[in-house]
Symmetry: C3
Subunit: 347 residues, 3 copies
């Protein structure tokens, strides 16, 4: 039934149950849910041209399948999923791999009202060879069991503003990118800091789409599935899992970022407003930073993708109003870093 604030302690290690074997079915369903077209993940030919034996799993799909495991222990009864930071995807995952996850409690802060507290965890996902495939921190607000006794615990960890870029990047050396296959002509050198890409597509999400996806990820947070319960909540209906919006925004960003086929890191993200069945998601992307790496074949782009509901992304100038509050149609503010080959690799 989910853990309370008192069930956590500093340094606690939690092995999340339910290791998950990833299958071809998951990959196809992910394409069906998102319409994603990044060639590396849907074409063995492109994957081989890029130095892989076969197509790896989309990083965001892997995130959902792995992350879903931690919901039961960490956030099943969360009052709020407050944030995440320093998300990294250290190693590619393939069909047939089995991912599992564990977390360490790295921070605890009791709220002054005595009713709840914030739990900070560092979660690590591994494959069946014990290699790290996912690494991130997140914090959630949970209820206290005993609202009378105050522990006054307040150990708050600090987070890096952006996920550090490691010396070693685990993707094959890229000799040549076949732009006839990837569908895009732009490489690292073609982007400028401050540039904005208005992705033209909009995708409408229905109830079956998002509930099938969230069930596939075995993410059992009730708010996403149980319409009967949600009807008597202030929302009045099922809330879409935030990961759905990340996936759709990433899929839409294909248009303009076709060769940025690797998500290196997610630095931070805000689910600014809720999304419900019937909403149409649009997105635009700003280039925040261009990062050189010791590898000569690739560079990294730090991006900010803003997802908007029921309004073309080109109509949104800034995601926040003058008081710094997110506009009511803005549903995602995602700061992340992608890997993109350099121009000389283009064919």
């Amino acid at each position: 039934m989910g853990n309370f604030f008192e069930d956590f302690f500093m340094g606690q290690e939690i092995v999340h149950p339910l290791p998950r074997t990833i299958s071809e079915g998951d990959v196809s369903l992910y394409i069906a849910f998102t319409g994603s077209r990044f060639a590396l993940h849907s074409s063995d030919i492109v994957a081989k041209e890029l130095g892989y034996e076969k197509r790896p799993i989309d990083d965001i799909l892997m995130f959902h399948l792995t992350f879903g495991k931690s919901v039961q222990d960490i956030s099943l009864n969360a009052i709020a999923n407050l944030g995440y930071a320093e998300i990294r995807f250290p190693t590619s995952v393939y069909v047939g791999d089995t991912v599992s996850m564990s977390s360490t409690v790295i921070g605890l802060k009791e709220n002054s009202n005595g009713k709840s507290g914030v739990v900070y965890v560092h979660s690590i996902g591994k494959n069946q060879r014990d290699e790290e495939v996912l690494n991130f921190k997140r914090w959630v607000m949970v209820h206290k069991r005993d609202t009378q006794t105050l522990s006054k615990i307040s150990e708050i960890p600090s987070f890096k503003e952006a996920t550090p870029i490691l010396e070693k990047i685990n993707i094959p050396k890229i000799d040549e990118v076949n732009t006839d296959a990837t569908g895009g002509k732009f490489f690292f050198e073609d982007y400028e800091v401050g540039e904005r890409l208005n992705h033209p597509e909009g995708i409408t999400i229905d109830n079956s789409d998002h509930t099938l996806a969230t069930k596939l990820y075995q993410n059992n947070a009730k708010v996403h599935f149980n319409d009967h319960m949600m009807k008597s909540s202030p929302m009045g209906q099922r809330l879409m899992y935030g990961g759905i919006i990340i996936s759709i925004a990433r899929a839409i960003s294909f248009n303009g970022l076709q060769n940025a086929q690797w998500v290196y890191a997610i630095n931070s993200g805000a689910h600014c407003n809720p999304t419900y069945a019937g909403d149409t998601i649009y997105a635009y992307t700003e280039i925040l930073e261009k990062l050189e790496h010791s590898r000569e074949d690739i560079g990294l782009l730090r991006l900010r993708t803003i997802a908007v509901k029921n309004q073309a992304s080109s109509e949104i100038e800034q995601p926040k109003d003058e008081e710094g509050k997110y506009l009511k149609n803005v549903v995602l503010d995602l700061d992340y870093t992608v890997i993109i080959p350099k121009k000389k690799t283009g064919k």
Copy 2:
């Protein structure tokens, strides 16, 4: 267009067409439809720890894929699917296996009005090596072609109240259950006859969910797919395939029965009330019986799972009212037997 009562005769053998190869796509879709989290079926690591080479197919998914084959010959135009009994799952099925089915007519009873009759069949599903993977009996009421001539046939077979437990149970010997992986700490010894588990989750089913599932099973009973036809029926809309509810109830029962990963038998079941798109399914389970087996590593639990629509299962005390009639929100009364390891296997 489906068979009439006169098309059946005692001892008749019917080979149902359309053997079905089971794929990774079927497995992923089943998880997406139900949110099922039984580790044996979604993790090769857990399957190997339990003595398997790889994860077997969920027994209920296999049931749907195999059962679907008999609809065309037996129940396409059934007036009512009256019941089933003695369902057994003798051998595990894996991705790549091909299942097929045949039936023998074991009973025929003409109704006194001369308009219809009841057909009883014994159906057997086999894999590509001719090994039995499914074995059950069921009975359906079908129309007569000729309502004027009376045959007065009345050969009614008898059914066992519960599927017999065989001496040989075809699952690997279980040495150790990794409860960090399966997500549950409870074993055979931890359950008591009469105990009741209120599973907390509720899952809402939409039209695409249930029609995609039923089409995947190639179950072509019209009432599930054809909204145009159903709009002029007393139901006014598509009726959900009863198997959907069995699957959802089984998936929800994970919470409390995490280590009961094998369905040994279904003893009987009643689809007490119809379910439609938009309904939210809840469930609770009673422990009816604890059955020892000559194998020392496992025991069997006979369970009764009651599924309820649009009402938390904890709010239902008894599924029937004082007159023995099912409450209007009760949608499934399932009597089945699961295999669960004994305590000494726990880690």
Copy 3:
């Protein structure tokens, strides 16, 4: 953002990006979308009995996965998809194969109003061994960029009324068809020219069904996904991808054509009226022609399948009214050719 009329020139060769590896997930999803029951595509046992190593991909699924690639370059901003012709499926495709596509411009006709023009292309799909798997022609009306300057170009190619039947047909020699497995007793000799089959089934399509399918095919034509945009169009809602209707009609035609498991060609097709979520699709088929082939084990049937929405197909006598206009419920008029074994192969 899609090409304009001026972006095309005679003889132009266009390599469509995004080669697509076909997976078991795609196959299962296709069955879930359509309920298709042709045994060759869902059973390895039947495939082996018919001389295959394993089950090949349904021809129409392969068409959608391959065709989807050309949308971005050819028809993303099409005013209208005017027609297609001479569609052939030269070689079977299997799970694990990667399909890609290229097109040659074979015709250009500027419209007299100067605002638009028609582009004719010849498109060829290949597998990873460079073998042709799909070959077709189609024409679309696209906007001109410059509506002031007239090119007066008018090079219109001619199309054959029916896709020619080649001497070599790339399917294994058929020794025996196990009708207990395929579910149908009828062979080439059993059909008569002029005969009409009223397929009894009707399948209702919901929004998630058709959008999941179209996204799976990575067909990114906006009209199918973006409800927000479509609400301000005359249609007022998302338009279903025409390929969905072809697939449903083909799946429904199983009933009566169980042994016609190969689509040899599509000669022409008209999407007579739009279909939207909630519509129920019915279909009937006329036998237009019986074609002998030098191979003695098979013959070909040229068929006309008419799909109808929200009305039983048996209620439609002719798809067009007296003035030659399609009735408002008729949604597809498909002229295609299937391969069917001859009677002596039946068992």
